[in-house]
């Protein structure tokens, strides 16, 4: 099953989104929050993100959800810390972090491949709410 990592500048945001996503996940599914800096401050930490990706991977790859700006940069840096095999199986979703994470988690719970999980997360951009 594809794992999902949530990268936010805020630890609380990342954990809150994870908490919501867990409501819709399969029991054995990996959803890892990587929010804030090591000292709890606001920011993104490439090392923490790479650790999260490693924990989220069960062999089928990892979809990474990001919030804003340097979350993308830190995630790209985190990719460089990974071994080649895993690096080929991780991808950032260009999607709104909350809607994308929920959609990705549900898609992954169906046993879909990484490309389908990313496509569903990115499809959440055009989801109408009312």
């Amino acid at each position: 099953m594809v794992g999902v990592v949530i990268v936010s500048h805020s630890q609380k945001v990342a954990e809150g989104i994870r908490e919501m996503a867990l409501q819709m996940s399969a029991p054995e599914q990996k959803i890892i929050a990587a929010g804030g800096m090591a000292d709890g401050g606001i920011g993104t930490d490439a090392f923490q993100v790479s650790e999260a990706i490693i924990s989220a991977n069960t062999g089928d790859g990892v979809a990474v959800m990001v919030d804003l700006g340097s979350a993308v940069l830190s995630t790209e840096t985190a990719f460089e810390f990974l071994d080649e095999e895993l690096r080929a199986k991780v991808q950032i979703a260009d999607a709104p972090i909350l809607e994308g994470a929920i959609s990705a988690v549900v898609e992954a719970s169906l046993g879909s491949a990484l490309a389908a999980v990313i496509a569903t997360a990115e499809g959440a951009r055009t989801l109408n709410k009312c």
Binding site: Q23, M24, V106, E107, L110, T120, G123, L127, N128, C130
Partner: protein, 88 residues
């Protein structure tokens, strides 16, 4: 092909968690699943399609299942909706 009419009775409608439960249940069957309501049709195995339907409480929907396990699939989805997705 089996077609059934069901009314959404749970308070929050077919959104978020119930939508996820519906799609996850549908995906356990081989049959194709379609939901029709309000002149729209959605793939019952696509979370985005189901959430985009915006199905609120008291909406009547038509579920069409087609495939070798259509009977079981139709029954499982109907039971799930009628049980209000485990909501109070």
């Amino acid at each position: 092909m089996i077609e059934i009419q069901v009314t959404i009775t749970n308070t929050s409608g077919l959104h978020a968690r119930p939508a996820a439960q519906f799609v996850q249940k549908a995906a356990t069957f081989k049959s194709k699943v379609k939901i029709a309501a309000n002149n729209k049709v959605a793939d019952g195995k696509s979370i985005l399609a189901v959430m985009s339907m915006g199905l609120k409480q008291n909406t009547q929907i038509t579920i069409t299942t087609e495939g070798e396990d259509e009977k079981e699939c139709s029954k499982a989805l109907e039971d799930m909706i009628k049980s209000n997705f485990g909501e109070e």
